[in-house]
Amino acid sequence: MGVVVKKVELSWLDRTYVWPVMKGMGITLRHFFRQLFTPTAKRYTIQYPDMKKEMPEGYRGLHELKRFEDGAIKCVACFMCQEACPARCISIEAEEFSDLNITQGFEEKRPAKFSIDMLRCIYCGMCEEACPKDAIWLRKDYEVAAYDRLAMQYGKWDLMNTYAKADGKELISEDPTPSVPRRTIAM
């Protein structure tokens, strides 16, 4: 069964070509003046280095390794994220450490090294999904660029500091000695 294509009948005014041209020019002129009198901040274009887009909730940008109030890393080096990562760009080395003074038999685990190869990361958010401790977040920073490849290998401290400035926290570069046990274990 064929489809009957209906041809649009043009009125004689439209056939003159002059009138439709004038209508079209009216439309473009309207756009021109609207754009001309719109303040820069309200235009569609975001002039990037000067203006930045506020990313929506749930945007998957640069990672942050979360920390406790006292600066200790939340990650327990369970390797879940490393397993989940489809790009295989997370590599973790775990270490034991003693939490406060209760050392005997209460060894804790944390990453000694935690690195993400940002050149390979696809920002899929799987690591965030997999983490049982909510220790790794993908947040809103999208300006991940560097002049050399090495600078794109984010280490443990880089990852912990990625949003420190934005959140008004101080930069840390070593594991703190916690003053209170984070976990009380009934013996």
């Binding site: 020019m25 439309i27 473009t28 002129l29 756009h31 021109f32 609207r34 754009q35 235009r43 569609y44």
Partner: protein
């Protein structure tokens, strides 16, 4: 002017001539360069974008991107100037000038202000004084020369796409020239002469006596043909990225390319000056018998720049024609229309109006 002339040990006539030369050619040339920016900025605004606004003088003074033509010029100067191996070297070098010079020269007879008398001399605001015997035939003839720029550029670069573009555009130019000439002839007929000053005088200072009101059909024909003459959208058949790479300037780079591009804008300026002269009373100020000289120059500039803007405006409004549609329009619509216009006005004149 007398003082300046005696300072330079020349006659006032020569001093005035030199001043006019510098003002007219320098002015048209820099307006053309400026119009590349206006074009891009206007296009952006029409499409709800922003356009080039970042080029800054000394990295600081931004003035809404007005430095862009300068930056483009500098960039073009320092680009490598390639000549294709199998090109016709001489013609390849000549073509940009063949395109640019006629585009600039067409402006020479157009009066851009009222003539005035000072110190016993009469000064005319046109490069060639009125009564030179060429009148408005001159810009039309020179406009016809523009075909050579495009065609020589296309032919000499020894590139199939370029030749296709050149052929197409020369066919357009030639076929639209006829309709255009007939429209202009009607004006010569009603004005009783083909000198621009006569044409302007015949139109007078009242807007409803201008040729746009008297010969609207002729205006439409002339205006449309001007688009074909300047090779601009909707008739830009010299170029066409989707069909023939870049068109007639495929092989051109660096300053030669920018001269070809500039010649299009010079053409645009000359075309808008012609439209203003022929149909909108030239330098006449509406409702003013003998306007002050500066006011008449301003009036002419406003009219000319308005039409230059209309060229830009139309370019970003209308889609392109197909080639056969273009030929159809040229031969079956523009030519008969201009003939009807001619015959109608001849009949009216014979009735003694």
């Amino acid at each position: 002017m007398d003082k300046l002339a005696s300072l330079l040990h020349t006659t006032p006539a020569i001093a005035w001539m030199v001043a006019k030369l510098v003002i007219v050619f320098g002015g048209v040339f820099s307006l053309a360069a400026l119009w590349t920016w206006v074009e891009r900025r206007g296009a952006a605004m029409i499409q709800d974008r922003i356009g080039p606004n970042r080029a800054a003088l000394f990295g600081k003074i931004k003035i809404i991107g007005l430095a862009q033509p300068l930056a483009d010029g500098i960039k073009f100067f320092f680009k490598e100037d390639l000549v294709p191996h199998d090109a016709n070297k001489g013609l390849f070098w000549l073509a940009p000038f063949l395109a640019l010079v006629p585009a600039l020269m067409g402006f020479a007879v157009i009066p851009f202000g009222r003539s005035f008398v000072s110190g016993g001399h009469e000064y005319h605001m046109a490069l060639l004084d009125p009564g030179n015997g060429m009148g408005l035939l001159y810009p039309l003839a020179i406009g016809g020369m523009a075909v050579y720029g495009v065609l020589v550029a296309a032919w000499s670069s020894n590139n199939k796409w370029a030749i296709l573009g050149g052929m197409r555009s020369s066919a357009t130019m030639v076929s639209y020239e006829i309709g255009m000439s007939l429209a202009v002839v009607t004006i010569f007929m009603t004005a009783g002469g083909y000198d621009p000053s006569e044409v302007i005088k015949a139109q007078g200072h009242l807007p409803w006596a201008w040729n746009i009101v008297r010969q609207p059909l002729g205006f439409i024909v002339f205006f449309t043909c001007m688009f074909a003459e300047t090779n601009r959208l909707p008739f830009d058949f010299a170029e066409g990225e989707s069909e023939i790479v870049a068109g007639f300037n495929t092989e051109y780079g660096s300053m030669k390319f920018s001269l070809l591009a500039l010649s299009e804008y010079c053409h645009l300026m000359t075309a808008s000056a012609l439209i203003a002269t022929l149909y909108f009373g030239g330098w006449q100020v509406p409702f003013m018998q003998n306007p002050p000289v500066m006011l008449s120059v301003a009036s002419f500039l406003v009219k000319m720049l308005f039409f230059a803007w209309v060229f830009v405006w139309i370019r970003w409004t209308l889609p392109r024609f197909r080639y056969d549609q273009l030929m159809h329009l040229g031969w079956k619509a523009m030519l008969p229309m201009s003939m009807v216009n001619l015959v109608f006005h001849a009949w009216r004149m014979s009735q003694g109006h």
